[in-house]
Every structure is written in structure tokens, then in C-alpha cells.
């Protein structure tokens, strides 16, 4: 029995010591959130946005609809970002297509997004594509499923079909990808805070911390 209590005390002291050590080693500042990078090139179409145009900070996201990490970001982190940063007027969120050549249906998905966007329903399609991401894992042509998404969000399906058939936004999507390459996008999703590349772990908490830091710095 004595050995048991000695073990308990040892675990207690070890655990408490570890917590104190972790708390004392808390960095006063997070690692530099951004690496200087080229600002996205100017173009006629700058991507669909969420939030107020007068927001003090613009976060540009380069994303690939078939990328699982992009889907994970949208479903797990984005709800908090929308509430805490976009909804509060701190951030204007800009979405840029960056279809990776390694993904077979990324361009098709980007086209579906643009064709829905033509009808003012880009973000609805964006959410459909990311929240129902099983299509990306099946390996089958998801055209039919995207069409169902278009129906589900209340788009004019005939117009959507015509848009998809014409491929009229192929140039816009490629322009967006080239803009990303010029800005240094090397993986998706990739984020830029007012044109400065963010290379850390994209979590809503981190984004909130960075945005608040930038706003506080500008107020000084």
C-alpha cells in the first residue's frame, strides 16, 4: 500500500510540474504569422467574397474543391471564422480557385462553383461541394452530383447546365490558379492576410489571434 501512495505522489508531482512548465513556456507572441509574399496580381475578377468591403483586413484563400484539407478547413474551422471574424466586420474573406493538377475533378468542381456564382449562389455551392465531400473520394465523375447540388441550392438548372457545357469560366479559373502560383501558393488551402502569406496551422483561433493583433497594431 505504501508503494501505491508513493506512486500517486510521483504522478501528482510529475503532472503538476509538467503543467507549470508548459504554462511558463507559453510564448508571449505566436510565431510570425506571415511571410512576405507577392500580393495577388490584379485582374478583372478577384474572386467571390464574404463580409464587408470596408473590413480592415482581407483574407484571401486559395483552395481546391477536391482537396481533403480544404474540406476539413471549411467544415471544421470556417464556421468559427464566419462568426468571429467575417460576421463581426473584421475580415473580408476572398475565395480564389487553385485547382491542383493532381486532382482529377478539381477543375470541374471549380467550374460548378463559378456557374453557381453566375446566379449569385457561389457560397451555397461552395458549401454543398465541401460539406458533401464524399464525391471526392469515390473517384467517379461527380457532374451529376454537382447538378444535384445546383438543384438543392435553388439554382436555375438549365442555366447551370448551359454554363457547365460552355466551360465559359475555364479562363477565369486558370487565371486564379496562375495568380496563386505567382503569389507563392505551394499547397492548399493557402491563406494570405492582406497579401502576406500565412504558413502556420490554419485554425480559427490562430486566425482570430492574427487578425486581432493586426488591428491592435494599426490602432497604435
Amino acid at each position: 500500500m505504501k508503494g501505491f501512495y508513493i506512486l500517486l505522489v510521483a504522478v501528482g508531482i510529475g503532472g503538476a510540474g509538467w503543467l507549470v512548465y508548459s504554462a511558463r513556456n507559453k510564448p508571449t507572441e505566436r510565431p510570425a504569422p506571415a511571410t512576405p509574399a507577392a500580393a495577388p496580381a490584379a485582374g478583372a475578377f478577384r474572386g467571390y467574397t464574404l463580409g464587408s468591403d470596408s473590413a480592415p483586413i482581407t483574407i484571401t484563400e486559395y483552395s481546391d474543391f477536391q482537396c481533403p484539407y480544404c474540406a476539413s478547413f471549411v467544415t471544421v474551422q470556417m464556421p468559427e471564422v464566419r462568426t468571429q471574424l467575417i460576421g463581426t466586420g473584421k475580415v473580408l474573406w476572398r475565395f480564389r480557385d487553385f485547382p491542383l493538377p493532381s486532382h482529377k475533378y478539381s477543375n470541374l468542381a471549380a467550374m460548378a462553383g463559378q456557374c453557381a456564382g453566375e446566379q449569385g449562389k457561389f457560397w451555397e455551392m461552395h458549401d454543398q461541394i465541401f460539406y458533401n465531400h464524399q464525391w471526392a473520394e469515390r473517384g467517379k465523375n461527380p457532374s451529376g452530383q454537382f447538378r444535384e447540388f445546383a438543384k438543392a441550392i435553388g439554382a436555375d438548372v438549365a442555366r447551370y447546365d448551359a454554363c457547365m457545357d460552355s466551360q465559359r469560366y475555364a479562363g477565369r479559373i486558370e487565371e486564379s490558379r496562375q495568380e496563386g502560383i505567382a503569389a507563392g501558393v505551394d499547397a492548399t488551402p493557402k491563406f494570405y492576410f492582406d497579401g502576406r502569406r500565412f504558413d502556420g496551422m490554419p485554425t480559427s483561433d490562430t486566425f482570430k489571434h492574427i487578425v486581432d493583433s493586426i488591428i491592435a497594431t494599426r490602432k497604435r
Binding site: 503532472g15 507559453k26 464556421p79 490562430t206
Partner: protein, 147 residues
């Protein structure tokens, strides 16, 4: 007796793991020592809050209760099955099921694994096995006189 002692020690260790994650959630610990970065993803996700409270806080409370019950059961002079054992079995089973749910979220929804959550899951699994061991033995008729 050693079974109950092991439960108490494991519960204490689990309590510190949960405390670590909870203190991080409160902003009192800067960067989680995680390795893969999955901890930040999991901790920052909307699933890290359950019924308005951080999931890690449920862990702290649950492990603290298991630890307290473990100490009570250890101090029982009689080695036979008593109310603390029943309470531990119920609490450990609940914690185990909740852990299964959280692990499924990590694997299939969040697509990120937090190593500390895995450590906690291993501890909970060990506790539930130890807690239910006498029941299993009894059911096959080999329960020892002093469990």
C-alpha cells in the same frame, strides 16, 4: 487490490492530460506539444465544445471523479465488490463510450488526430477494462475472493 490502485493511478494521469488540454483551451498554455499539429486542429474545432463546455473540462471532472472513487475503493478493507466499484464501472463505461464518439469525430469528421486525445483514450480504455474485469471473471465463474 492492485486493480483498484491501477485505476486510481491511471485516473490521476488522465486528469493531468485533460487539465493540460483544458488549460490550453483557456489560453493559459501556448502551444500544445503535439508533433503533428492535429491537436490544434482538434482543439480549435467546434467539436471541442460539448453542451457549451470544453470537452477537456468533462475529462478533468470525469477523471477527478474516477480518481476519488478509486481512492475510496482502495481504502475499502473488504476486497469484495462494493458501491465504489459499481460507480467506477458506470462512470468508466460512460467515459469510454464518449471517447469512442470523440475518436470517431477526429477520424471521420475533423480528419485530424490529437495525440493527447489518443493518450486519454488509451487511459480510459485501460480503466474500463480494469473496472469491468471482476464482472467478466464472475460471468465465467473465476472471480477471485479479493479482486
Amino acid at each position: 487490490m492492485r486493480r483498484r490502485q491501477a485505476i486510481a493511478v491511471l485516473a490521476l494521469a488522465g486528469m493531468f492530460v485533460s487539465l493540460y488540454l483544458w488549460l490550453h483551451k483557456l489560453g493559459l498554455i501556448g502551444v500544445l506539444q503535439c508533433g503533428t499539429g492535429g491537436c490544434d486542429t482538434v482543439q480549435a474545432s467546434s467539436y471541442s465544445v460539448f453542451l457549451g463546455l470544453p470537452v477537456a473540462l468533462y475529462g478533468v471532472v470525469g477523471y477527478a471523479a474516477l480518481f476519488a472513487l478509486g481512492l475510496v475503493s482502495v481504502r475499502q478493507a473488504d476486497g469484495s465488490w462494493g458501491w465504489p466499484d459499481t460507480a467506477i464501472a458506470v462512470l468508466a463505461t460512460t467515459a469510454f463510450l464518449f471517447t469512442l464518439y470523440l475518436t470517431a469525430l477526429e477520424l471521420f469528421v475533423i480528419h485530424a488526430i490529437c495525440r493527447w486525445c489518443v493518450v486519454s483514450a488509451a487511459i480510459v480504455t485501460a480503466i474500463v477494462v480494469l473496472a469491468l474485469l471482476p464482472i467478466g471473471r464472475r460471468s465465467i465463474g473465476t472471480v477471485p475472493p479479493n479482486s
